[in-house]
Point group: C2
Chain length 296, copies 2
């Protein structure tokens, strides 16, 4: 089955009210928000990615979902496949750093043995508190689309990792992304909708618009690119907006809201459906691929 | 690393107070208990186990931990590797039945793609409420050791599954075990310690004694065996007490407590350390293997 078919089938099972119809990135459980992510070797990370970076990314992928709810991390649970001692030790060191940096203690978990040669499959479940918890579906016609930070650094960093050499700043953006927790807490109370950008700016913007029953238009010239990205990949934003691994936040704000801090207005929601792009005010065709489909 | 080494290393990371030092089968999060389990194809279930039974067992393994806390299931999160359509459909059907039978709705989850030929790795995280939440470490010298139901049916059912034929009742005990939720709620308020028996009666009894800083003695003649088990495997309890997959509850009760319902007194806690066995009041040597180590 495809992921969409499987999730549609899950929606016909007995659902908890906090599941919100399985339409959001985090569930509600009392005063907590909960999100879970599985990373698979060879699918979500490279076999030669350092183990400490895999630990970091595993946690950050979930903390990024908490950030999109404006939540404070309460802790994480870890499901871990035991491996070679050197890999396990490096994983633990990366995990230790990540949990300390983001003040996110370990709550529990499970460790398992794997058959020889099987790819590593790691799961983290993250809990957040004090969430304003905007959904991805609350954008209103006339809202502006904002994004935190810069876009494309993670995708360019993946290219650097695959090439084996390149700018350290981009490699770090891919291997040690930072969840936008402070930005999330600042934006959540004023956002009509918010989600993280994990699969690519275009596909995730389209998903927010679709969930909200609206169309969205993005001005490609407005998409914030870092100096490191421009130096490595050039000034064309198209590779940046279709790449994953950014873990920035995307939010819909009323037109009179101008958030303080590092966010950029890149588009507008309107009645209708679908995604459209402009450059210099002129419509631009959509690329064939909007982003990654495999990790919605 | 071994599982014990890895968990010892995890204890040096930042821990949530609800993690209880990672010494228990479930964590506390506000008024919830939380437990997570990963099942790996070829390790925790057979490749030819029906998908619906794998779904059932995945959920029940975690609900059994909730039962040991005397908790009412609040819901589960699922991390699922997409597979062939027929397997996915059968999994969903088994999941649907299980969630309905145990009144345990789906809260959320994640679906992932797997590399071709990789073993299936499934994770469930279960939440329970209203838990009396006895730990596994609270047994006191003089307490009696009690077990619910009968022991050995799951292990005998695994033998039936491997052989390809045999008594249906045993196969059902292996493939569709039932979490002892009602028994757990009845026992939790009076138990000094409680845990589920997933890896074998002997190893899990030894673990409860070790966690409580005590010795435990088990009368093998007292271990409850089902008629189906006796007819298939004979009257020797030794294979039963070293087999896994029972998902009964094990608890330490003060000597004046006699629980109503289906529980049997099988042993006594005393000052000291270690596990000892008797048969007809006479000491019996321990078997070489006390149970399964791979899924503590």
């Amino acid at each position: 089955m495809t992921e969409a078919e499987f999730i549609a089938a899950l929606r016909r099972l007995p659902l908890h009210k906090g599941a919100l119809g399985l339409g959001d990135d985090a569930a509600r459980l009392g005063n907590l928000v909960v999100t879970t992510d599985t990373l698979v070797e060879g699918i979500h990370f490279l076999s030669d990615d350092p183990a400490g970076d895999v630990a970091w990314k595993l946690v950050v992928v979930s903390l990024s979902d908490l950030a999109a709810k404006g939540a404070v991390p309460e802790g994480v649970m870890l499901n871990y496949p035991l491996s070679e001692t050197a890999w396990d030790r490096a994983f633990l060191a990366g995990l230790d750093t990540c949990l300390a940096v983001f003040d996110c203690p370990l709550i529990g978990g499970d460790t398992v043995s794997m058959p020889n040669g099987a790819p590593r499959v790691l799961t983290v479940t993250a809990f957040g508190r004090d969430a304003a918890a905007p959904s991805r579906s609350g954008a209103k016609a006339g809202d502006r689309l904002w994004v935190t930070g810069t876009i494309g650094d993670g995708g360019a960093g993946l290219a650097v990792a695959r090439a084996g050499s390149g700018p350290e700043a981009l490699l770090a953006a891919y291997r040690r992304p930072r969840p936008r927790l402070a930005e999330g807490r600042a934006l959540a109370p004023i956002a009509h909708a918010m989600m993280d950008v994990s699969d690519g700016l275009l596909i995730d913007s389209w998903r927010m618009a679709a969930a909200s029953g609206l169309a969205v238009s993005i001005a490609l010239d407005a998409v914030p690119l870092s100096a490191a990205y421009r130096a490595y990949a050039g000034d064309d934003p198209m590779p940046a907006v279709t790449a994953g691994d950014d873990y920035q936040l995307l939010c819909a704000l009323p037109p009179d809201q101008r958030p303080t801090g590092h966010a950029t207005c890149i588009g507008t929601f309107a009645p209708g459906a679908g995604l459209s792009l402009t450059r210099g005010g002129v419509p631009v065709p959509l690329p064939d691929r909007l982003g990654f489909e495999h990790r919605a």
